[in-house]
Structure formats: structure tokens, C-alpha cells
């Protein structure tokens, strides 16, 4: 997954990532641990999480 410019840094996504692959400080950052499951995107109020190409 990747984060677009919409992200405000509310941190909601981190709670729903089962493998702790999102770090948030002013914006969400996706780490290499991400397995592209896409769960986080359903909880992002800003449509800031997109599938990685």
C-alpha cells in the first residue's frame, strides 16, 4: 500500500494494521513489512491509502 497527499496523520490506520506496518507522525508511513492486504484503506477517512502498483 502507499500513502497519498490526502493523509492528515490521524493514525486510525495503525490500529487496524495486523502486522504493525504503519508508523504515524504528522503523516502515515508504510514500512517494508506491508503485505498489501489493504485492510487499512477501509478505515482511512481521507482516502489516503492506495494499492501499490
Amino acid at each position: 500500500m502507499k500513502i497519498n497527499d490526502n493523509c492528515v496523520g490521524c493514525g486510525q490506520c495503525t490500529a487496524f494494521c495486523k502486522i504493525d506496518a504503519i508508523i504515524v507522525k504528522s503523516k502515515a508511513h508504510i514500512t517494508d513489512a506491508c503485505v498489501n492486504c489493504g485492510v487499512c484503506a477501509a478505515y482511512c477517512p481521507m482516502k489516503a491509502i492506495e494499492a501499490d502498483e
Partner: protein, 425 residues
């Protein structure tokens, strides 16, 4: 009669609970996979963090939100610890020398002359509310001393996520009046989620329906009246539409909005709406940092406006024996591009306020623009109606005068219900 509600946040659920109890057929559509909007919990390592608001109702068990929760028969316990609001005034921030002044006695740190002035102002302003300037300007005129400005910034920051210089003085005094009228804060047992979950239960019990993962792409408007919504290309018809997403986003969904001069005026008003920005820093503490269930205002801090430790009232919001501490700070609009720096300044404040204490940072959360502290900051609120018949806006984008945070949401919903159902419903 049928009502469609856009968004399952606090305002949407309060409206849905009330209308479903009055015999309306109600459908709530929520884009996300969860309900509660910026008023629910999420769990990180056993700590119940909140999506937006802190786990606190500004006017506790006797405020407008508590009254509305009771009115719709939602099952929520709200607890208040009396006399637990303090201002931590630092004489020396570096050395950690401070005193905690009870909120109601904030003037005790003023000079003798300003204490006399304050006593007179407290009487005269309740009779004749000041007008036409910001709270910051009013303080400069009446009580010009740094600590008074710091206290005002701390209070406005905590309550509104605004600087005193950006808070209209009328709004500030209406809030003070509401504090006299309704009393101070309380904690919903179970946190924010207990409130929104209880409201959702009421909606379902009344026969209403709540759909998550369902995005409304258009509000259908015919001859200047809202007639339903569009979801996945399907038309869902209703008699009224209640939007919980603020005026600007609501207008974006009205693709067939009227082109009347009245609607143009509405669009001009929408452009004046300014969402407020803020940062919330959540701490996991191995010992109590505050020791009570109220609010610690921090006027001497550089960024942090206030802090609470709700686990003193509801220990279940953290793992056994631990405490959940949340600090809020305003972010001024021109500082939004420097958010990371703002967060670091907040963290530095907390290190000075709680030296040698055993805690760690769980998460720093930031809010602005489309996911702000308040969709409409004080003074930019344009009310609950729109020029489109049958289309109403509730939530923190349409609160009403003197309404702080979720209390304002409840006041806006109450006003909307009076319009829809008639006064005294």
C-alpha cells in the same frame, strides 16, 4: 416519513436515534468500515485511543449531549469528578517549579490591581457580553498581562483548538456562560465508543438501519428539494436527508444544486468556513501523571493546551494498573506545513511538565482540513439548514452558539430536530 443520514459519526447517530424514535424510517450510510467517526475508540496494546475527540464530554452528565443521550434512551454512564480542573502555572519551566491553580480561581495569580479589575469584569460581562473583537484583543484591552493571555490560549486551545486571538469574544463568553449553566467535564464510561455504540443500538432497536462501507456519491435534488441519495448508481429515495459531513462536502454531493441567488449566497458563506487544526499526543503511563479525572490546563507550555487522564475515572481504558494520558494542542493554520515540528514541540512540553515520570508515547495524531478538530471553527458556523428543502447539516460543522466540541454537536442536532419535528418535540 423516511430519513437518510450521511455519515455514522456522533451527529449522524444522534439524529438517527432521535428520528427513529419519533417513528421515522431511518437509514444511515457510512463510507468507512466502522461507525463512530471522530467519536469512537481504537485499541493499541490495550489502550483505548480515540479517533478524534478525547474521552470527555465538556459539560459532563448535565450537559446538552448527556441530555440528548438520555432523551433518546441510549444507555451511557457519564461520570464527573467535581472540582478537578486546574491550571498548571510554571514559575520556572526549566526547574519544574509550578503551582496548580483551581480553574475557577485562575485570577489568584494576577496582580492585586488586575484581581480587582477581574472581579468587576466577572460581574459586568455576565450582564453585558463583550462584542466585536477576539478574546485575545479583549484581554489586551482589559487585563493585559502575559499570564492572562496564556490562560486564554490554553482554554481556547483545549475547548476549540483555536488561539484566543482567533476566537470571537462573543463565542468565548457564551462558552463561559455554558460552563456556569451546565458545569464541567465528565467521562463516558467505556470512552467515546460507548456513546456512539449505544446510539447505534438505539437506532437498530427502533427499526433503523446502519450500513458501513457504503459511500453516497450524490444527494439527489429535484426542484430545490432533497429527494434521496445515489449509492453505486442506485437511487435511494427519502423525505429528508441529514448530512453529518459538514456544509462544504455536503454541497459537493449536490450535483443538481439550484442556481438561485439564494444558493449563491450559501456558497459564499461556505467559503468562510475554516476547519480548526490540532495535535493529540497519547501517552501510556506506568504511574498516574495527573492523578485526577478532570483537566490539567497548561498555560505555561509552548504548545500543549491541556491534558487529561481519564483512567482515573474509567480504569478500563488502559491495561490494568496503567494510565491513558492525552494532551491536546492547537495547530495554527500557517503551521500545518510544519506539523512534525509542532508535534516535537508538544513532546518537549510533556517532558517538562512530567519530568522523571514513567511513560511512553503511544501515538501522536494530527487533524486538519478534511479530518479536522472541528469542521467549522468558532465564528464560522453557518447553522443546520441549507437552501435545499429537506437537506440539513449536523455534526461539528454545524454546532450552534457557545457549543464546545461534542456539546455543540448535540446542540446543533437538537436545533435540527426542533426544525424537523417542531419545537418541544
Amino acid at each position: 416519513m423516511k430519513a437518510i443520514v450521511i455519515g455514522a459519526g456522533l451527529g449522524g447517530l444522534l439524529s438517527a436515534a432521535k428520528l427513529s424514535g419519533e417513528g421515522y424510517e431511518v437509514e444511515v450510510f457510512e463510507r468507512l468500515a466502522m461507525i463512530g467517526g471522530r467519536f469512537t475508540n481504537f485499541n493499541i496494546n490495550g489502550y483505548q485511543l480515540s479517533t478524534g475527540a478525547l474521552h470527555m464530554l465538556p459539560h459532563g452528565p448535565t450537559g446538552p449531549l448527556a441530555q440528548l443521550i438520555k432523551e433518546v434512551n441510549a444507555d451511557v454512564v457519564i461520570k464527573r469528578q467535581d472540582d478537578t480542573a486546574f491550571m498548571r502555572i510554571h514559575e520556572d519551566l526549566e526547574k519544574g517549579i509550578y503551582k496548580d491553580v483551581p480553574f475557577g480561581k485562575f485570577g489568584s495569580t494576577f496582580s492585586a490591581w488586575n484581581r480587582i479589575k477581574l472581579a468587576l469584569l466577572l460581574i459586568s460581562t455576565r450582564k453585558w457580553s463583550p462584542k466585536n473583537c477576539s478574546l485575545g484583543e479583549w484581554i489586551t484591552k482589559n487585563l493585559n498581562m502575559p499570564v492572562a493571555h496564556q490562560m486564554a490560549d490554553s482554554f481556547c486551545g483545549w475547548a476549540l483548538s483555536l488561539k484566543a486571538a482567533d476566537t470571537p469574544v462573543e463565542e468565548a463568553f457564551e462558552i463561559f456562560e455554558n460552563l456556569y449553566r451546565h458545569g464541567g467535564p465528565g467521562v463516558p464510561i467505556g470512552g467515546c465508543k460507548a456513546v456512539t455504540d449505544a446510539l447505534a443500538n438505539v437506532v437498530r432497536k427502533n427499526g433503523g438501519n446502519i450500513e458501513t462501507k457504503t459511500e453516497i456519491t450524490e444527494i439527489l435534488v429535484e426542484n430545490g428539494k432533497a429527494i434521496g441519495v445515489l449509492i453505486d448508481g442506485q437511487r435511494h429515495m427519502s423525505d429528508i436527508v441529514i448530512s453529518n459531513i459538514g456544509h462544504p462536502f455536503t454541497n459537493d454531493l449536490c450535483k443538481d444544486a439550484p442556481t438561485s441567488p439564494q444558493y449563491k449566497q450559501y456558497l459564499d458563506k461556505i467559503r468562510t468556513i475554516k476547519p480548526s487544526a490540532g495535535v493529540k499526543i497519547c501517552l501510556a503511563a506506568n504511574e498516574p501523571l495527573i492523578g485526577h479525572g478532570g483537566v490539567l490546563f497548561t498555560p505555561s507550555a509552548k504548545r500543549v493546551n491541556g491534558i487529561n487522564e481519564v483512567t482515573n475515572i474509567d480504569p478500563k481504558l488502559a491495561p490494568p494498573g496503567k494510565h491513558l494520558v492525552m494532551a491536546h494542542q492547537t495547530v495554527q493554520w500557517d503551521r500545518i506545513p510544519y506539523l512534525e515540528e509542532e508535534i516535537d514541540l508538544g513532546i518537549a512540553d510533556l517532558e517538562q511538565i512530567f519530568p522523571n515520570k514513567d511513560y511512553e508515547i503511544i501515538l501522536a495524531q494530527s487533524y486538519y482540513d478534511g479530518w479536522p478538530v472541528n469542521r467549522s471553527s468558532s465564528g464560522t458556523d453557518i447553522g443546520n439548514t441549507t437552501p435545499i428543502e429537506g437537506l440539513y447539516v449536523v455534526g461539528d460543522g454545524a454546532k450552534g452558539k457557545g457549543g464546545i466540541e461534542v456539546e455543540g454537536v448535540a446542540m446543533g442536532v437538537k436545533n435540527t430536530m426542533n426544525i424537523i419535528l417542531g419545537e418541544g418535540n
